[in-house]
């Protein structure tokens, strides 16, 4: 029985093993490349049949290009040609070179050959045959021919794609004319795994859906997806799974391939720049040489002067006295050197050295005459052509030998004995170098660039402020983000992911999400992928030199000092990174282009925050109105800065407007192409809402409420004014900061003025003011998620103003105070303050009050005590105190006096009072007993969360900056009403004596703060 079972099992498992081995054998004997090679042979046969010729001989096998390693390392092997067998065959190209009547190749205006349809295209032959069979109704033949186009198991048309001639690049007249395949190999330019023989492993993870994906959570990379998205949208979006993890170099598609061209080809501008740099280096070498010659000359002159002077001295005083004198001088010098307090001797160090060497020389001789002779011999040795008498003639009694130097020099120069330094040539070389570099900057946007995508990418690297955080050797020195010098070696999908959602791999990353459009991502990515330090155009020595100059702190163009000029400042704002995160309303047309009514229409039709699809829909719906009302397009702008931008860095303005990119593509794909209108809307948009992106606060009026000192401080060290700011310290000269400050002040004042004028026309409407000033952070719906807050780079995130609990806890007075003076330590600015003379603040006190009233009125139960909850205002407190029958120590006991009035002075509605001046406990109540009692209460009721479990926002209480921005009143209010949204319960009932206990706790907290402040020093006054 068992024997039978085992026998059957044995036979079955043997059959299984045989079958499995069969599967492996099948895979081995029918590889993918063989399928394609079979297709190729069939195609050649079809062509031969059509042309009545014979098909060329073709041996079916693996094919490879092997390039030996110069250092006898592993060879570079590319087996791409195993599948792509038709790379060089002209009948596999859909186009061919157009020829004129003489058989010469026709060239276009750029000097490149013109191409025309190829009548000999094999795949066209196949299509013709298919049509023929179809007409004849031969279904099976049609199917067989259709099957030729596809490799089984791969996407439609894959064989057709694989069997193509390599397209002609630029001026090429035949494939691989300038880049012979046999010497370059495929993967040198195209990247990929040359050793692979299957599509998946050779090409690597490139197109979405064509490779297995690592099961990570993925965030949506684009706000909107549409069928009109470019091809690049579906490329390199995911980390590959287990099977392709080794494939670190997927083939480069589309423009990305420029990243490899860049290793050898620089655009004209860069070549000239490099040549200029070379020249400058040569000049430096010449200057150094000249300096050395001059130094040698001077030394010799000094030596001759010294010997003349000594000869005289020996003659007049005798050898011994001279030596004595010399030694005394040397001793005096060294003594002076030892004791810094003593006045220095009259000799310099070089002179003393020379005297010392002469003294040593003289001490070898005995007599005066010997000494004189020795000195003469020395003179003669230095300049033998000059006669001794000529030197002797110079001699007159002088205190030091150095006074003789000038006459010695004159003598030597007159007798042409001095070697002349060559520095003047160096100056000329420098001039040339500088002019070359200037020419290069003029060429920077020339159309002859070989790698336009990389040039665009580089300009985006600056205009998107990448350079302020990241280092690329010899380019930028940002210290905040990771270095990108060798980023081209990273996985392409990783680069793309990091660009589009920086937190995907590193949740703590502070890099904001810029919401780039595919177009921008492609450009930046190409630029980044070129960063491999594999530049073949510069010699190793040149590279080392230029890098060491960079390391030594050589200034880059953007770091140079600039003249203070509004247009310059705006240009910097747009191209050097500010606009990547901030919006500024400063780019108006020179003449108003819209009437008030049209403006109102524009605002209504095209609000600031429109998604791409909404924008496209709005343009489609209002095409006629757009044509009628918006009369100027971006290309015809009369704003000087905008026009400059369009000319010199055309990628800058569109890069901030992903929605417009999207709308333009979508409109282009529609039946009626309305994409031309996008430019009109964009200009109106920039005029009306400002230029830039919403990641940091909008700067329209910041010049008004921020002082010059504050702005300068913020530019130099952003976190010193805004503790959790992600803004990098920009690598600018102070003059540029001043320039930017002036610009902010100028446009702040003008924007405030415009807004006031508009307001006076229609009286003050709180909801309009809210939309103008508050909504960018707090959101139009007041939920705390405005466009700026959505980038999630503000800390803390803006408050939810629809939360009645928050408003209850805040109280109207505190709200007014916060709006007027801002909240220290947060991005909330002081709207009621004007730092500019003669300029009204953005909001006056009356306006702020109206705004607060409107805010509270629009939220139900914001200013009422809901279900017995204590609302902290004066009247309630008074009532509470009298109800509880409490008296506070040191407080007048008379019942009629308001206890609150005694504890907290009335609110002073004066602008710019520091929080300490009102809403604070009187010093009289911060007695030791109070503090001690407060400490006990704090340890009982608060410490559990705030001291020991320091997570989330609980640490606020330890944060001196935050504590100082809160009034005692606000703290008491938090203690007694709680902060339900954050999870803090009301302590009104759990504290035995209600408010008086709260006051004790506050007294303790303040005393603690002061203590810590005085101990650490940094806490106290760190924020004011």
């Amino acid at each position: 029985m068992r024997a039978t079972v085992y026998q059957v099992l044995l036979l079955a498992s043997m059959a299984l093993v045989t079958a499995l081995l069969g599967v492996f054998a099948y895979r081995e004997f029918f590889p993918e490349y063989a399928t394609i090679q079979n297709r190729y042979v069939e195609l050649e046969e079809i062509r031969a049949e059509a042309n009545h010729t014979t098909a060329p001989h073709f041996s079916k096998d693996k094919k490879q290009i092997v390039i030996p390693d110069p250092d006898r390392g592993p060879e570079h092997i590319d087996r791409c040609v195993s599948c792509h067998v038709a790379m060089k065959l002209e009948h596999f190209s859909p186009t061919r070179l157009a020829r004129d009547i003489n058989g010469e190749i026709r060239l276009d205006s750029a000097g490149n050959p013109i191409k025309e349809a190829n009548p000999d295209y094999v795949w066209d032959l196949v299509d013709a045959k298919i049509a023929e069979y179809k007409a004849a109704g031969k279904e099976s033949e049609v199917a067989a021919l259709e099957a030729l186009k596809t490799v089984p198991g791969r996407e439609e048309g894959s064989a057709k794609l694989a069997l193509q001639m390599h397209p002609l690049i630029g001026a090429e007249e035949r494939p691989f004319q300038y880049h012979p395949m046999e010497t370059f190999a495929c993967s040198t330019c195209h990247s990929g795994n040359g050793r692979g023989l299957t599509t998946e492993r050779a090409h690597g993870p490139v197109y979405d859906g064509e490779y297995e994906v690592d099961d990570e959570h993925h965030k949506v990379n684009q706000a909107e997806v549409d069928s009109s998205d470019p091809k690049f949208a579906k490329v390199l979006n995911h980390k590959p799974g287990h099977d392709l993890l080794f494939q670190t170099t997927p083939i480069l598609t589309g423009k990305l391939i420029e990243a490899r061209c860049y290793d050898c080809h620089k655009n004209m501008a860069e070549s000239i720049q490099n040549a200029g740099k070379n020249l400058a280096q040569t000049a430096e070498v010449e200057i150094k040489k000249a300096e050395r010659i001059e130094k040698g000359n001077q030394r010799n002159i000094n030596a001759i002067a010294a010997s003349l002077w000594l000869s005289e001295k020996v003659k007049s005083q005798g050898l011994d006295a001279t030596l004595k004198y010399l030694n005394s001088q040397i001793a005096a010098y060294s003594a002076a050197g030892l004791e810094a307090a003593q006045p220095k001797s009259q000799w310099t160090e070089a002179e003393i050295h020379m005297l010392a060497s002469h003294a040593a020389m003289l001490s070898t001789v005995k007599t005066d005459s010997e000494a004189t002779k020795l000195l003469e011999v020395q003179r003669a040795a230095l300049y033998p052509a000059v006669k001794a008498e000529k030197f002797a003639a110079l001699l007159k009694a002088t205190d030091t030998p150095w006074e003789l130097s000038a006459s010695v020099r004159a003598l030597l120069e007159s007798s042409k004995q001095l070697a002349m330094p060559t520095a003047p040539f160096a100056d000329k070389i420098y001039e040339n170098a500088n002019s070359m570099i200037k020419v290069a900057s003029g060429l920077a946007t020339g159309s002859e660039d070989l790698c336009p995508t990389i040039t665009s990418g580089e300009s985006l690297y600056f205009s998107q402020a990448c350079y302020a955080c990241h280092t690329i050797q010899d380019l930028s020195k940002g210290k905040i983000g990771p270095e990108l010098t060798l980023i081209g070696n990273a996985y392409p999908w990783w680069i793309k992911q990091s660009l589009m959602w920086p937190q995907a791999k590193l949740p703590s990353s502070q890099m904001p999400t810029f919401n780039f459009d595919h177009v921008e991502v492609e450009k930046i990515m190409t630029f980044l992928m070129a960063q491999r330090q594999k530049d073949q155009t510069m010699g190793a020595m040149q590279k080392t030199r230029s890098q060491s100059a960079w390391l030594a702190g050589g200034k880059k163009p953007w770091e140079e000092a600039v003249s203070v000029d509004l247009d310059n400042a705006l240009y910097s704002f747009a191209t050097e990174g500010c606009a990547a995160c901030h919006k500024l309303d400063a780019f108006e047309e020179s003449k108003p282009t819209m009437t008030a009514a049209e403006l109102a229409w524009f605002r209504k039709t095209f609000p600031e925050e429109l998604k791409g699809s909404e924008l496209a829909a709005a343009i489609t719906a209002n095409a006629d109105a757009v044509r009628k009302n918006l009369r100027v397009s971006l290309a015809d702008t009369s704003n000087k800065v905008l026009a400059d931008l369009l000319g010199s860095s055309p990628d800058t303005i569109p890069s901030f407007y992903t929605a417009f990119h999207f709308a333009e593509r979508k409109l282009k794909s529609q039946k009626e192409d309305l994409s031309g209108l996008v430019s009109y809307v964009l200009l109106a948009h920039i005029n009306e809402y400002g230029l830039g992106r919403d990641i940091g606060p909008r700067l329209h009026t910041s010049g008004v409420y921020r002082s010059e000192a504050w702005l300068m401080q913020h530019f130099r060290a952003p976190t010193s004014t805004s503790p959790k700011s992600i803004m990098p310290p920009m690598p600018f000269d102070d003059s540029k900061f001043v320039s930017l400050t002036k610009a902010l002040q100028h446009f702040g004042a003008s924007n405030t003025k415009t807004q006031r004028e508009e307001r006076s026309l229609s009286d003050f409407k709180p909801e309009v003011a809210y939309d103008n000033y508050c909504a960018s952070c707090h959101g139009k719906d007041r939920m705390g998620m405005g466009p700026v807050a959505q980038a999630k780079m503000l800390y803390p995130l803006p408050k939810d103003l629809t939360n009645s609990l928050f408003l209850q806890g805040l109280g109207k007075e505190q709200a007014i105070h916060s709006i007027t003076n801002g909240v220290v330590g947060t991005p909330m600015p002081p709207w009621g303050v004007s730092e500019l003379e003669g300029v009204m603040p953005v909001l006056t006190q009356a306006e702020i009050k109206a705004l607060v009233d409107w805010l509270f009125a629009s939220v139900s139960a914001a200013d009422t005590a809901a279900d017995g909850k204590w609302l902290y205002n004066k009247d309630n407190t008074e009532e509470d105190f009298s109800k509880e029958g409490l008296t506070l120590p040191g407080m007048p006991t008379a019942k009629k006096e308001s206890p609150l009035g005694a504890v907290m002075p009335a609110f002073a509605p004066v602008i710019r009072q520091t929080p300490y001046e009102y809403g604070m406990l009187k010093a009289a109540y911060k007695t030791k007993e109070q503090v001690d009692a407060g400490k006990k209460l704090y340890n009982q009721s608060c410490a559990g969360c705030h001291e020991y479990a320091s997570y989330g926002n609980l640490v606020h209480i330890k944060d001196a900056t935050w504590m100082k921005s809160m009034t005692d009143e606000a703290l008491a209010s938090i203690i007694l009403t709680g902060k339900m949204p954050k999870g803090m319960p009301s302590f009104k009932n759990s504290l035995q004596n209600g408010e008086s206990d709260a006051i004790k706790i506050i007294a303790y907290l303040r005393s603690r703060l002061n203590k810590e402040g005085s101990e650490k020093g940094s806490l106290e006054g760190s924020h004011v």
Partner: protein, 440 residues
Amino acid sequence: MAVLRGTRKESWLEYLENLPATLMRSIFRHNYPSNDVDRSEIVFKNFFLHFHPVKAHEDSITFFRTMGLGTITTSLFLILTLTGVILMFFYIPAEDRAYTIMLDWQDTTPFAMMFRNMHRWSAHMMVLFVFLHMSRVFYTGSYKGERRFNWVVGCILMVLTLLLSFTGYLLPWDQLAFWAITVGSEIAGYAPGIPGMEHNINRLMMIASTTVGQDALIRFYVLHVAVLPLVAGTLIGLHFWRIRKDGGLAREPDPIRPDPIRVVQRSDTKEVFAPGVKRTYGLMELVRGTSPTVDSGPNNTIFTWPHLLRAELLIFVVTLAFILLLSFIQAPLEETANPAKPPNPSKAPWYFLGLQEMVSYSAFWGGVGIPALIVLGLVVVPYIDRNPKGSGVWYHRSRYMAVFLYTSFMVSQAILVVIGTFFRGPNWGWIFPWLDYARH
């Protein structure tokens, strides 16, 4: 009357007639095993089979006695040797070539990927099955009495298996290999070295340099393809030979216990053993019907050919099929080794992750102290287990304490391995694999 005659010299015709038989006979010294004599002869006259007994106890092929774990391990060793030798023909142990060869194997070298996958998964499986086999031996108490030392040999084989796996891990020269070995050699570096020497001697001996590089690669290669397999093969032979000498697999005494020396003559065969064996029985009666013990003699023994050999072959083929099935999963290959780009976390191979987990608490104890104690503790098991009962019995009642201790030890090690494999993320911090785990 018998006439003594010499063997008649065969004629040429007869010689030619007998030639095929002569040839066969010169190769195989036995007839086709169609009867019990030949079944015996095939075992003791065949070099490849002679370490088997002629007859084995039927328990040997009862599946749930051993579950074939030892045979599976041996099968894996054979598969590994075979595939390994094939792969050696294509491999170059050089820092700059090893990885490109892995790339060539993927598509170009015929069947290379099949062999590489088989080799890889067999290696992992062998580590697993060595432990399963050890557990079987422990739970059935099969290390008692004269089998004590064979347990020690088994322990040495276990260590050799781990070393073989570990040394092979480096050879693909990708990130996975490089960093696993770097971590492994760091662990070795926690063992106390020679005082006053700048580098830890253990680590230095292992990787032949201060960092993992060409020296480590050639050292690991030689260990992996020559030294360790040779030692392991020899010890495997010893392991089997001792089982044979100790009377086959450990088993319970048969309920009815005939004298094992005496051999039963069966009516349908010739006398197997030499005459003179004392007959202890006689023919009492002839009963009609089938015999209740068809495949085994009265001693519950069976003939090795075909029963035992068939069972062994079955297990080998099933193992082979299993490994072939696994080989459809591609052996991992990551980017080429890059000393400048450590993955976070760098993990050792899974069977060392228990160690790595312990290392994260204490470098010396986790990496050196405890592992050494574990091996030592396992080696001395048969010498401290003085309970004579339970040999060949699963979970004998008298061994509850031993079973409990062993089980808790193995489970704790398994838990450590699982933690190290799945619950450790960047900086060896705790993660939950089902939540978002961003690898760097």
